[in-house]
Subunit: 66 residues, 6 copies
């Protein structure tokens, strides 16, 4: 029954990695809290670097500065 929402910038998010993350997150809740995987939902949301801010700047700008 749990619901997990993960927001990430898109780089590296291949279908295979997404499969792995879904399995990993579901397993944690099964192992730690005995939650039923059959009703555990994981939603991965990809957020462009222009739209993600930290430290008062977008990730786009932060990466340009590096």
């Amino acid at each position: 029954m749990p619901y997990i929402n993960v927001k990430l910038t898109p780089e590296g998010l291949t279908p295979q990695i997404k499969e792995t993350l879904i399995a990993d997150f579901t397993d944690i809740l099964a192992k730690r809290l005995n939650k039923n995987p059959a009703t555990t939902i994981v939603i991965i949301e990809e957020v462009e670097t222009d739209n993600w801010g930290i430290g008062g700047h977008s990730v786009t700008r932060i990466r340009e500065g590096n």
Copy 2:
């Protein structure tokens, strides 16, 4: 004043169906709780099947298995 967020995989989500869902959800809160439709917000978020997990697998993989 209510806020409703609906996350769905995209298949079948035509503009007409979205109009219908917006009307339906707004009507429920007006009918059940007398909420004012003028300030009821409905946001529909379409989540790709690679990004939606249930039962420890992505919906993409589950559908391939069927």
Copy 3:
């Protein structure tokens, strides 16, 4: 598989009304998009009127003004 999140101020949200809202929202997605109720999740979040703003004021203040 759908996920519905409803945010509301708490007044009138009895257990019976919550049951009704859960049933109503689930039914809409079954009827309009043939979504399986067994994996449709509805989460109702109650937000205090101090914490809900519209028009630049909290609902607490708006109601005091009425």
Copy 4:
């Protein structure tokens, strides 16, 4: 440490405006609550007008009616 999620329809959301919004939101929490900008996250989500409902209609339809 705060987390701010802003949902908007996409018109006018240039990279420069997004930078400005990220800075503005971060500054408010630093000024009002002394929150550390270094761990303040701002996520801007762009929602198409078909997917945003208010008053029981999509923003697409509302704008067509004007």
Copy 5:
């Protein structure tokens, strides 16, 4: 029409500060994007320090360590 969700730990969140944050966030979207305050929603969610993690630890534990 915009929707802003702010998650914060509860310390310092008096009703007056919440009023101020609601006004500030609404003003930014009016000023930067000409968004109508009448339909701008701000929801402030207070998250206990046990339930907020950063750097792999809860804020409760991080503060104990200071």
Copy 6:
């Protein structure tokens, strides 16, 4: 930089389990995607069983039926 939001019903959510979940979720993103734990945020939201619906019923009612 990632953001993880986990919604769960409250039973069993001791401070120690929450610490463990925060560490587990942060570790997964470090291991799978090389994400920096220092800016990985995990927020655990506890949802009462009256407010969580699945299969068209609240979890409260489902558990009463068992």
